[in-house]
């Protein structure tokens, strides 16, 4: 009697679940699934917004933020159509994709400039060399380089407090590669946060602070932060759309990417979305405070996409200081 009632309830619940499962097969309207880097997110979000408007809601686009690494995990399992990435695909991820039979087309879509920032009350720093950045951030400096005068003798003995993104971020990978010389090699005694607003607040309230993150967060908080000009060997250069575009702000400007699954291209809505993306990038990318690629680069992207040139131009290793033209000239390989 008791068990009968319980089993009835159980059957009912299972029935409901299977009923809803059976509806999986009939899906109303196509959905484009995108996930990945939080750095690329604002651009993809703008594209998704405009694309859905232009299609009058006939195509649905979803965009998630799992980080570049998390995005590639889903992408290589075949769960997403497009992956946002703030660095090229790595060897381990290439293997994962290969094992699942996922092929992809790599498309650089904009520039981001890693910006090094100090507190506005910091009157002594205006520029820094890459060697000085290395001195600050190298793993050996942990617990050693704690005062500004240890970086450059004429700077005051003010304590040096560091702020930066956490180790899961593509920004962290690129900065360490560019400044220290090895991806993911960094001292650990700094305030790390995946939320860039935490870093903004930290630097804005600490006179001895130094930190780095994407240009978009700097430009929105210009009144609270002071950008440091970076000397990559040819004199100090401040980050700006112009210096990024003409290649003067090196090596801290980097291309950011989308990866499109070849399985997804067979769906007409995905093909249309990627073409829309490349066509509208020159107008929409600056709106969300990123630096667009030169028009020729988008044309090359489109060619690469339409000819289905699969693979990556980086063979799974992070590269620093490359111009997008050089990347697009390389033949992509799986």
């Amino acid at each position: 009697m008791k068990t009968k009632m319980m089993s009835k309830i159980l059957t009912l619940t299972l029935g409901l679940v299977s009923l809803s499962l059976s509806t999986t097969t009939i899906w109303a309207g196509p959905v484009i699934k995108i996930d990945g880097s939080s750095t690329v997110y604002p651009i993809t979000e703008a594209m998704a917004e405009e694309f859905q408007k232009s299609k009058g809601g006939a195509v649905k686009v979803t965009v998630g933020i799992s980080g570049t690494g998390g995005g590639f995990k889903k992408f290589c399992r075949g769960e997403t159509d497009i992956s946002d990435a703030s660095r090229p695909i790595l060897k381990k991820e290439m293997e994962d994709c290969y094992l699942q039979g996922i092929k992809y087309i790599e498309l650089p879509i904009a520039y981001d400039a890693l910006t090094v920032m100090v507190n506005p009350q910091n009157s002594w720093v205006t520029s820094m060399t890459m060697a000085e950045l290395k001195r600050i951030w190298a793993p050996e400096s942990q617990g050693q380089v704690l005062k500004w005068n240890q970086v450059r003798p004429e700077w005051p003995t003010e304590p040096l407090k560091l702020y930066g993104p956490g180790s899961d971020s593509g920004t962290f990978d690129y900065f360490t590669e560019a400044a220290v010389g090895k991806a993911k090699a960094s001292r650990g005694d700094y305030t790390a946060s995946e939320d860039d607003n935490v870093l903004v607040q930290g630097i804005a309230n600490d006179k001895g602070a130094l930190g780095y993150f994407g240009f978009a967060y700097y430009i929105e908080n210009k009144d609270k932060l002071k950008a440091v000009a970076i000397d990559g060997g040819k004199g100090p250069v401040l980050p700006s759309p112009q210096t990024v575009e003409n290649g003067a702000y090196q090596p801290l400007s980097r291309p950011i990417f989308i990866y499109v699954s070849t399985q997804a291209i067979n769906k007409p809505e995905v093909k249309e979305f990627v073409e829309f993306y490349l066509k509208n990038a020159p107008t929409l990318v600056p709106q969300v405070k990123y630096v667009p690629l030169p028009p020729a680069a988008y044309a090359a992207d489109l060619g690469r996409f339409q000819n289905k040139k699969v693979g990556t131009a980086f063979s799974g290793v992070e590269a620093v200081g490359l111009k997008v033209e050089e990347i697009l000239k390389r033949e992509p390989k799986l």
Binding site: M6, V31, A48, G64
Partner: protein, 302 residues
């Protein structure tokens, strides 16, 4: 005589002292909540307008709204309630009225008490493994609803048991005395009398679930959703559809989380406004819970 008076005066003073300390302790909680609401209101009030409720998220902070978020929240809560309520009430009735007192029941009881204390992110990890990967339900309204349903299941079970336990044994004995079976007793007496307490527990459980973001982020809830799930009612045969259950979704806490992490300060105002909406929803639900309890208490006449 004088000693006695000073003694009384001292005790009265201690009494007053404790009342003051107690009041201060209470004020800490009240003022924190009040400060939170006022802070959110000051930031978010300017963004609250009709278009904020009926616009999709956008890259322009002043055009962005919470339409997909609040619709998602309501749908997810609906799924949560439809799973957790029947399961929770049935479990509660079984444990209180039917279960024999033995070691097996003890183990179940200990487990339920423990489940109520498990951090919500653990439920998210379990849901990711079970619902998303094993059952292939995807990052859908259904997955989210089931996850939050499991999360509040222990709360519903506990509330049901408390409510049932509050009913005097004499009521049951009276029912048995006139020849009622156990189920008849439960159906006609135990359940109706305890419904007020059960509903209160359910609503409190739901108002916990509505603010959860950790388990939903774990199952991979998406952040940019600028469309609504398919409507459950349709103009053509068979006139209803369950497709909304498998639709991608976003909810208010996730939309807030997204806006808070944006560089533009204007998005932070949107987050405050969304937080205000969420807070009002939660407070309303708690208000309804109190009213329901009052209604049912009034109806019971023993």
């Amino acid at each position: 005589m004088k000693d006695l008076k000073t003694l009384i005066a001292r005790r009265k003073f201690l009494d007053l002292l404790f009342a003051i300390v107690g009041l201060l302790a209470l004020m800490v909680g009240v003022f924190t909540l009040l400060a939170l609401i006022i802070d959110l209101a000051l930031d978010g009030m300017s963004r609250l307008s009709l278009s904020f409720f009926f616009s999709y998220p956008s890259r322009f902070p002043e055009e962005a709204g919470i339409l997909s978020a609040w619709v998602g929240t309501i749908l997810v809560m609906f799924v949560t309630a439809t799973t957790a309520v029947p399961l929770g009430i049935a479990s509660g009735i079984y444990l209180e009225e039917y279960a024999p007192k033995n070691w097996f029941t003890d183990i179940i009881e200990i487990n339920i008490a423990n489940l109520a204390g498990v951090p919500s992110i653990i439920y998210g990890l379990m849901a990711l493994g079970l619902f998303v990967y094993k059952l292939h339900l995807g990052q859908s309204v259904l997955t989210a609803g089931l996850t939050l349903g499991l999360l509040i299941l222990p709360i519903v079970i506990m509330a049901t048991r408390e409510a049932i336990r509050a009913i005097p044994t004499s009521i049951r004995e009276a029912a048995y005395a006139v020849g009622a079976t156990k189920w008849q007793t439960v159906q006609d007496h135990v359940l109706p009398y305890s419904l007020g307490g059960i509903l209160t527990g359910v609503i409190i459980g739901l108002s916990r679930a509505i603010g959860e973001s950790a388990p939903l982020l774990t199952i991979g809830a998406l952040t940019f959703i600028a469309f609504l799930p398919d409507p459950p009612l349709q103009t053509h045969f068979p006139f209803f559809s369950f497709e909304w259950l498998l639709s991608p979704f976003t909810v208010l806490p996730i939309q807030m989380f997204n806006w808070v992490s944006r560089p533009q300060a204007a998005f932070h105002l949107n987050a405050a406004a969304a937080g205000l909406v969420l807070l009002v929803m939660t407070l309303t639900m708690n208000g309804v819970a109190i009213y329901v309890r009052y209604l049912f208490r009034k109806r019971i006449q023993w």
